[in-house]
């Protein structure tokens, strides 16, 4: 098992865990933070914290779930230190990496703006569920909320997103 080998000090085993889980860990961080550079930092910190805490990892757990919880906690810590960011700034940040003229700019712009108006947790829940495919209970575990709360947050977030984008309906 990779975790056991990493625990025994085999760096290559930990690198394999990084390869396996970094994309989802990034998505967890990005769902909470919205800013790419912050998400990258948090993923690196999350893996470093996990490496440090490998001794405390219980073999009956899923490594991915355990890691994602660590990453989410690190993301929330950073988010608390970044609360000064305004909605306008967030909206720009959400749109900025996607200035590809081949794709529909209006939809992207409106979607970026709509997402930036959602509360932090609602945004995280909708991204983790509808984009990443996590279940309600997995989201509950990652964000440290009951799965029923994840379910109702998701419902309200979708309703709000729909209301904000209703004039774009085809």
């Amino acid at each position: 098992m990779l975790v056991e080998r990493a625990r025994a000090g085999e760096t290559e085993a930990f690198a394999a865990l990084v390869r396996m889980h970094q994309q989802r860990a990034y998505m967890v961080a990005r769902a909470i933070l919205t800013v790419h550079e912050d998400a990258e930092d948090v993923v690196q910190e999350g893996f470093a914290r996990a490496y440090q805490a490998l001794e405390r990892f219980k073999p009956d757990q899923s490594f991915g779930a355990w890691l994602n919880r660590i990453v989410a906690n690190a993301a929330y810590d950073l988010s608390r230190r970044r609360k000064v960011r305004t909605t306008e700034e967030l909206s720009e940040v959400l749109q900025s990496p996607f200035r590809d003229p081949a794709v529909d700019d209006e939809l992207r712009t409106r979607l970026g703006q709509a997402l930036s108006t959602l509360p932090e947790r609602a945004r995280a829940v909708i991204v983790l569920h509808d984009v990443e495919g996590f279940t309600h209970s997995e989201i509950g575990e990652i964000l440290d909320i009951p799965s029923g709360t994840a379910r109702s947050d998701l419902h309200h977030a979708r309703q709000k997103l729909r209301a904000l984008l209703k004039d774009l309906r085809g």
Partner: protein, 131 residues
């Protein structure tokens, strides 16, 4: 403009077009541009951090301001409100109120005044026991 539908595929789930746009928004910019080296480079940076003893040590010792950040905001707010209320009460207390309180205390019977009553009771007890 491209049209899309917010169809209800999974209860009230977002439709595929919208979900894929959200995914695109949340993809790292380099990876979204098709840079195949993005994830291997992130892996290298992660492994460099894991191998950095200074960075690992910084994770071990929480800084005092981080500890303060963890304090409950509600607790601090409650303490602030309590302080404000006490200050307001003190400020609203007029000199007359203070005088009345002093008078009330000063007019209470002193312990010496109670002493005869105690002696009387002792005398009654002595009388009853003598019988």
């Amino acid at each position: 403009m491209k049209k899309f539908f917010l169809t209800k595929t999974d209860g009230d789930a977002l439709d595929a077009t919208l979900a894929s746009e959200v995914r695109r928004i949340y993809t790292p910019p380099a990876a979204a541009r098709g840079d195949q080296g993005y994830w291997p480079s992130l892996e290298q940076r992660i492994m460099a951090r894991v191998a950095d003893p200074v960075f690992l040590a910084s994770l071990e010792s929480p800084r005092w301001w981080n500890v303060l950040e963890g304090w409950s905001r509600a607790g601090l707010l409650a303490a602030g409100v309590a302080l404000a209320v006490s200050a307001a009460l003190l400020q609203n207390q007029t000199p007359d109120d203070s005088g009345m309180e002093y008078e009330a205390v000063a007019s209470m019977p002193a312990l010496e005044a109670l002493a005869p009553a105690v002696d009387q009771r002792d005398a009654v007890m002595t009388y009853v026991l003598a019988r």
